[in-house]
Symmetry: C2
Subunit: 751 residues, 2 copies
């Protein structure tokens, strides 16, 4: 499909704006005065560096971009990072309150307006800091032959030596001391547990030992519990965890939903009613009922080297230097004891928010967000992002002070709390303001942390892909060796690292795992979740470990000049500026239609056709035909709308006083995206409201298209009542159709 | 509470507008040119009667109102009515398709734009037109001693003599021939059935005979079915039905939900997936499983005069001239047979829609609606409204042609199909366009039919009460005897007929029963449902009978000059024009806050305090405190917002070029109303989404405030698990709080 004009290519409009600019310059005696022109910010005569009047609006915009990019300083980011990572700061701790305060001060001194915190009372989980969690191995007489220390040792004591920093634990684990026999369960996927069953090994009453990788750790523990395990152990196999020292562990949450456990769908504001009890959360599997513990691979060695039973299948063998065995149990009647001390407690958490009010559309928001709570020091996850975002804020205000630029739409800077526990801060925010975000949020731009330093990696929805690419073409490459190869921009490296369809880099659909999730799947706000990665896209070394301290950023991931950190900031800033200042929003709804027609419908048809022929599938197949026709209508309408939007843009450039038509165009672009929100959510999951991009229950990290439809197809395959199951598939497809039809109607003037 | 300025009193703005108008008049050489001023329509020099330039904007607006009101002609309404009521026209029949065509032609010749129909395929129900439904009485030998004719006789054969017009039936009755014993069940309310149980009479396997009145007929039949009855008979007791001839019956639907039975929550577009089966609908009680039949009171006499058993309680005795008895059964072993022939069938229905595009805000809609399908001829219900609405459309376009007025926002004229079956046409429309209506619909103005001729009667939400009153003060009284008493306007009679709080006439909250329901309770659009009534507010004589033909309108309800029909049209037109042309929308959100604080919270507290003290109610009571605080915050914010809106209005008047701030103000007014929509609906009733004004399941005709909360309180009273039930009450109150909090945030600039 050719690119259709609702995007950021706005040449004809710019030429006309230029004419108008000149006319105004003439009218006002050659001095550029405060104009009504949205999409180029304000040009004022009374402050800052006057911009040469003979330039085009587009050139002026580019120039503003240059000033903004230059304003982002590596030294500032480095200083921010040091300020934010002085001590371990898990959500709900006093240390994290101090980090929130640091961010508030950074935002204030940057010059943001209305800086304030939003507080929620959420259910958190902590270990007993004075009594580490342990795994021990006892001989048949009950004497311990091995007990893990439960604490990782600092490598750089200056940065990593705070009391309790090395504590090994998983948030929301049940407390308990459990003795039993170990079964090796590989990665703990449903498929792994099926295999184990086939081997004739019963996990019931056993301790499931699993390695990290292949999905969300919370799913592993839940799967183990469902299979009857009475405790779960997770270890960082060196096969997955390069650089991880033998005594390091990956911390993390094993809660299964996003947002506060006790206030589903509603904000956990202080005093708010807790509609779910802890017992109900356990019954529903939101939090586990069994103890779970992360161990280092030197502790894993102690267990693996004593394991009973047959050797594991070859692909289950990891890189600990011993032959892995299935169990159950250890040789010589040795038993394993898991001892986890943990408590659930409700605590205040605090999002920090600050604004740069838009000059033209104060009530349209471009939101830039990152969380700030960490498992330990968090110099990568998440404070690489936090430190960059504060610098982007500062650089924007500096640009306002040194040029005459003002953002056209409002910029919102958001630092989320308690992301690590399950996206708590951002989810509660979205639950509180879902209605306002639905009407006012243009886009949400998330950067959690980088996970490598080789290439951009972007997860976004089809309608923002063009924007993501276009902006990447404007950002200088931070990698000198790439520049030497002629790859001058982030885009040049990116498109080679991850080549994708339509001559664009490959961009995945945003799954879960960071704070964009609620914006997209609960509120229907378009999101970009971006990142620097290595070319395998694997999780970065030392993830969620004690060793994430600034030394890593300064010497292992980036250079002391923080060129990569700066490049990330530039990309973030330019994404936001473009979304703020483009007269017609750079959100290409045509792309949703194309994707629906050329990809989603075809894949769905394939999935249905791959099932054994059955008359009970007839209705579902009819609904696919219907959906295809709807997608074609949507495409036609979107193309027509794109032409209309182009005309309005031209009119606005010629007559900047009447913004109403433009606001109408942008309202439709925003509302077309919202059509893909089903207010009732997926069956049994009312929080998963995006009919295309909500997340599959079974694999919380991946972004699955039309999850409710494919879940219904899976249920159909497993069901004995094919008639009822076939009806459910048809119903779920008809809900997608309804969204497509809604988007089509939204682009119309009358219906 | 004093009235706070977000309403239609706009004196200061008008004065400034006047100044501006003059300035422009001067600039353009004294000729009024096309202006950017929203809120007064366009004044153009090139056509129509020039308006004298020395008048204020307000005077000009009044003058436009005068022209519009004068343009509405009784003769036209009368001619429309005759054209619409030539033949019986139930939804889904060819005759009703012809009525749709007539309306389309009326709209086209009126000069509306984009006139078209919207088609839905809905489940309808019909009798066997060739074989009337009967009730017969057989003696102990099985011989019939009485058989009802099943058909009412015409009184005015010229108007009422079409074949099958007199057929007596209820839509969605199950078919069946049932012999059994009658039990008299009074009005068929839950209370009545409880009384019957207390009397020791078992309704199981009996035929329940009930009279009309005291609630929706569908609830009566459902109650009878739930109590085990195998058939239901409904009769028009002369006590409730003045004027009804002895052989007349009230027809109607006994379907329990709004909208198509087979496509809940989604539009029944041709080809759309039917997610509910007929069997599921019966299981869920949406449509009955037993036969049900309306009978005349001469047929009722045949049964009542033969009844067995004790006399009924005095208040259950009606006006049929016989002592009513309870049964069960008839004397001398006589048995009753109910014979109902009916079928369910999916048919096309067609809404007719036409537009007058707004000059300033084409994408903001003021919607005027009425249904056109009828049980027989429908000269009152609904075509009194249909004929008036078509004339309002014509008069608006005429006013555009004879003056230079153009509505500022778009007027939408909607004629709904299949309302009588369960609000099908309007509900499917709302389900199809809920997202667009959410963003674009300013208000929905419903007039189904008049139900008397003495006074206005208005059901609306608190935020539209001021508008309803203000406009009524501008409409001349159609009743000469009232004018002689000095009551010059509709308001003067209305406020005396139904005096209410705050010196306003009493206005109920809109319940169900007509096409405003989906707009308010599913989409959150503010509605006014208005009517002319007699001072008892009873249902009008001859309701849903064969005898609703134009003679009634011309000679019994109104005078031949159709003064009342005209007055209704004037009120409708002026409501719409005010909503279209007011710069700041005349929707007073402050009133929601006041009502919440001063009425709803107090009543709720009273209800909770009236329950026996119980620690399980503590959380619920805490939530009421919380709600009260929230309501106070909302009130403070609404008052602050009202001041802000007033300032913006002044700014706009002085600088009409920049409409963005105004659009922002109006967006917030609209969105604050939408906050009271819970996207998931009431527990077990996802279609009932308005947390304040959704309709109670038990009594479909009344508008109950916060039905989900009071349902939870009722459940608490009945429940044995007080802990769980108490939690549910608290949860439902917290959902109201969330809506109030949402509305408060919506009125803020930043959050």
């Amino acid at each position: 499909m050719p690119y259709v004009g609702v995007g950021i290519q706005q040449h004809s409009a710019s030429l006309r704006s230029q004419r108008m600019l000149r006319a105004y310059a003439a009218l006002t005696g050659g001095i550029l005065v405060s104009l009504f022109v949205m999409g180029m910010g304000k040009l004022q005569s009374d402050r800052g560096v006057p911009l040469p009047r003979q330039e085009t609006v587009e050139e002026i915009q580019d120039q503003i971009g240059q000033v903004l990019m230059e304003a982002i300083k590596g030294d500032n980011i480095k200083a921010n990072l040091r300020a934010l990572t002085k001590e371990p700061h898990q959500a709900g701790t006093k240390a994290n309150d101090r980090v929130a305060k640091t961010i508030e001060n950074l935002y204030l001194s940057a010059g943001l307006q209305r800086v304030h915190t939003l507080t929620y009372d959420v259910l958190l989980s902590y270990p007993d800091w004075d009594k580490p969690n342990t795994v021990s191995i006892n001989n048949r007489f009950g004497s311990a032959v091995f007990t893990s220390k439960g604490v990782s040792d600092a490598i750089l004591p200056d940065e990593q030596g705070a009391p309790h920093a090395g504590h090994q634990w998983l948030a929301y684990s049940a407390p308990g001391k459990v003795e039993g026999d170990i079964v090796y369960c590989n990665s703990g996927t449903p498929k792994d547990f099926e295999e184990i069953k086939k081997m004739g090994i019963d996990v019931t009453g056993k301790i499931a030992m699993m390695r990290y990788g292949e999905g969300f750790r919370g799913d592993k523990v839940a799967e183990a519990q469902q299979n009857g395990a009475k405790a779960a152990i997770l270890f960082s196999d060196p096969a997955e965890s390069v650089w991880m020292p033998p005594q390091g562990v990956q911390r993390g949450s094993i809660m299964k939903l996003n947002g506060d456990v006790l206030t589903p769908l509603y904000p956990a504001k202080p005093g708010a009613y807790k509609s779910r009890t802890i017992d109900e959360a356990k019954e529903k599997g939101v939090i586990p009922s069994i103890p779970a513990l992360p161990i280092s691979y030197d502790t894993a060695y102690e267990i693996l080297s004593r394991m009973n039973g047959r050797p594991v299948p070859p692909e289950w063998q990891g890189n600990v230097n011993v032959t892995y065995r299935m169990g159950p149990g250890l040789r010589d009647g040795h038993k394993t004891t898991v001892d986890v001390k943990s408590s659930l407690t409700t605590k205040h958490v605090h999002n920090v928010v600050g604004y740069i009010p838009g000059q033209d559309e104060e009530d349209r928001y471009v939101i830039l967000g990152n969380h700030f709570d960490a498992w330990v020091y968090g110099s990568i996850d998440p404070n690489s992002g936090t430190s960059i975002l504060a610098e982007v804020a500062r650089a924007m205000v500096e640009t306002m002070n040194t040029t005459t630029w003002r953002p056209s739409r409002t910029m919102v800077f958001a630092a989320w709390d308690a992301e690590e526990y399950g996206l708590l801060g951002s989810t509660e925010y979205v639950e509180e303001f879902v209605q306002q975000l639905g009407g006012r949020a243009v886009a949400y731009l998330n950067m959690d942390c980088f996970a490598g330093n080789s290439s951009l990696d972007i997860r976004t929805i089809p309608s923002l892909r063009d924007l993501a690419v276009d902006v990447a073409k404007r950002i200088p490459n931070h990698l000198e060796e790439q520049v030497h190869l002629g790859r001058k921009t982030l885009y040049d490296t990116w498109v080679r690292a991850f080549p994708g369809a339509n001559d664009q880099p490959d961009m995945k659909i945003p799954g879960g795992g960071s704070d964009h999730t609620g914006f997209l799947t609960f509120a229907g706000v378009p999101v970009i979740d971006f990142n620097m990665v290595n070319t395998t896209r694997n999780s970065y070394p030392l993830y969620h470990s004690l060793f994430e301290t600034p030394f890593l950023n300064e010497h292992l991931y980036d250079k002391p000049d923080f060129a990569m950190h700066r490049a990330i900031g530039r990309y973030w800033a330019e994404l936001a500026r473009t979304l703020s200042d483009s007269p017609v929003l750079p959100i290409n709804v045509t792309k949703i239609a194309v994707e629906m027609k050329d990809v989603y419908v075809l894949e769905l048809r394939k999935a249905l056709n791959s099932l054994p022929a059955n008359p009970n599938l007839m209705e579902a197949k009819q609904q696919v035909d219907y959906l295809e026709k709807g997608a074609q209508k949507f495409l036609t309408r979107a193309q027509y709308f794109a032409e209309h939007a182009g005309r309005v843009q031209v009119e606005i450039a010629e007559n900047p006083f009447d913004q109403r038509k433009l606001r109408g165009v942008n309202e439709r672009i925003m509302m077309a995206e919202r059509c893909f929100i089903n207010p009732r959510g997926m069956p049994g999951a009312p929080e998963n409201r995006h009919v295309l991009y909500s997340i599959s229950e079974k694999d919380s990290y991946s972004g699955k298209i039309m999850a409710a439809v494919y879940d219904a197809i899976d249920e159909y395959s497993a069901s004995t009542d094919k008639k009822k199951a076939g009806r459910r598939v048809a119903e779920q497809i008809s809900i997608i159709y309804h969204s497509v039809h809604c988007a089509t109607n939204t682009l119309k003037h009358f219906f």
